[in-house]
């Protein structure tokens, strides 16, 4: 490659990087400004004095700690449960021998990815309120498991497809039954895949807004997206608290993405359904 082309390529890569990071930079800088400075000219691209006031307000006045805890509990439990359930369903789909049945099941799973989620809101709401299950974090957790289970299963299946069946057959000849060979041979081999499913589910659940808005009414049960939504008032948005809230809401997915990026990308390209 000529030097000119090299410079061109590096410039293009740098532009992409700047474009990707600029909005995050701006929201973080805003959250570290004194609230007066946010609304004063000329705009500063670095705070004249770094202030954590917005964060203090967020956690004292706006109770953000509770929302964070709710989001963390719901996301961790639901993502973990989804991982376990899809481990089994994905394995079964990968190893079942009946082709027609298998294809129908897969089609039924893909179908759930196509429907607009809002169409099920009304019936779901009446159904769950009949059983007094609204306004409960446990209900939300179950709904979230359901929300990600189809895609998790598809992902898990594609991971198990790549593990040769001969390994299990060998272990069964050695006297393992199917459950033993599953836990001793197959699951340990798919640990990266399971990490991908967990991170995938976690990110999607952590970010979910509309189900939570519909099924949670009490302030002490709100998750972070619902809380952020409640910061929007008719008078507009106070960007000091909002920017701090956004930064805090980004942190967990940022950590997960940094660690599991490789697996998530592998999962995304294998499953290829969720955007």
């Amino acid at each position: 490659m000529t030097t000119f082309k090299k410079v061109l390529k590096i410039t293009a890569l740098a532009l992409y990087l700047i474009a990707a990071l600029l909005p995050f930079y701006w929201i973080t800088i805003t959250s570290l400004k004194d609230s007066k400075e946010i609304y004063s000219f000329p705009l500063k691209y670095w705070p004249s004095k770094i202030s954590f006031n917005s964060y203090k307000q967020l956690f004292s006045f706006a109770n953000f700690g509770i929302y964070f805890r709710n989001s963390a509990i719901v996301s961790l439990i639901a993502a973990f449960a989804a991982m376990i359930i899809s481990m089994f369903s994905g394995y079964a789909l990968s190893r079942l021998k009946m082709k027609r049945f298998k294809n129908r099941i897969l089609l039924a799973l893909y179908f759930t990815q196509m429907i607009p989620g809002f169409i099920i809101m009304a019936p779901l709401f009446t159904m769950l309120s009949r059983f007094q299950m609204t306004d409960k974090l446990s209900t939300l957790t179950i709904l979230y498991i359901t929300m990600v289970i189809a895609f998790s299963t598809i992902m898990a299946k594609s991971f198990f497809d790549r593990i040769p069946i001969s390994l299990e057959e060998a272990s069964m000849i050695d006297g393992c039954n199917i459950i033993q060979s599953l836990f001793k041979i197959v699951f340990p081999l798919t640990l990266p895949g399971l990490a991908a499913i967990f991170s995938f589910a976690f990110v999607n659940i952590w970010n979910e807004l509309f189900l939570a808005t519909m099924f949670i009414f009490s302030d002490d049960k709100m998750t972070i997206p619902v809380a952020l939504n409640s910061f929007i008032s008719k008078a507009g948005i106070s960007w000091d608290i909002m920017s701090a809230g956004l930064v805090v809401s980004l942190l967990p997915t940022m950590i997960i993405f940094a660690f599991a990026q490789k697996y998530i990308i592998a999962g995304l390209t294998e499953g290829a359904v969720k955007g």
Binding site: L43, A92, P116, F125
Partner: protein
Amino acid sequence: MRNSQRKLFIMIIPAFVLLILFVYFPIVKGGVVAFQNYNLFDLTNVHFIGLDNFKAVITDRNFNFWRICLNTALWIFVSLFFQFVLGFGLALLMRKPFKGRGIYSALVFYPWAVSGFAIGLVWAWMFNGQFGMINDLLLRLGIINNNIGFLSDPKFAMMSVIIANVWYGVPFFAIMLLAALQSVPKELYEAAEIDGATKLRQLFDVTIPYIKPTIISTTLLRTMWIMNFPEIIYGMTGGGPANSTNILATLMINKIYKFYDYGQGAAIGFIIMSILFVYAFFYLRLTSSKEVVL
């Protein structure tokens, strides 16, 4: 072996119990709701009203239906075009390994992991009419003389939400296309080079035909997904000003969350689903691929 096949059946059950209870069952009921008078504040008065919900949606004076359909088409196709082109560009740039590619991809792909709603809010702040960074940068560069109300001026609002959506979707295409690019056998390029094909010719004659299945399935899936994706608009403009950014999906949210009219909401959902089915059918016909590589 028979015994273990039976065990496999049992393993599928938990996932499907959840899906049947909370997805398939409600969706059948949701189809019914589209033909009912169904308002959350008036639950004692639920009854069938035929196609009235559809009529009400189409003739609604406050939300001009055809304007919203046009907005939806703009929102989908302009976003999709730029997401694809820019994502493909990024994938091509990242194709050959370079120092720090791992960290680079973690940073440049990160927008994918953020919620659409949070993205909407972040971009609302970027585009803020007074204190937004974009206005400030454009002023400093001398491109504009006065602040633009990106989100309050109907002329600019659609463009602004689309820019945010493009920004959000580039990582998805880059990730998918990058994976596809890495599967193209090197020998094909070597052969093309011997034939004297330029890099550009190689792109159109080797690369694109080879990864065509991925291109078809990603653009198709992404279209469906963008159509059902109201979060960015919800966070940035809520569909305003003056309906200029309302799409079918945000209209549905308005009906459900503001007016509690589930009947009309479900009717819009029905319309969205029908459009998507017809679209998917013709898209696959036109691109003549019998099987989408999902």
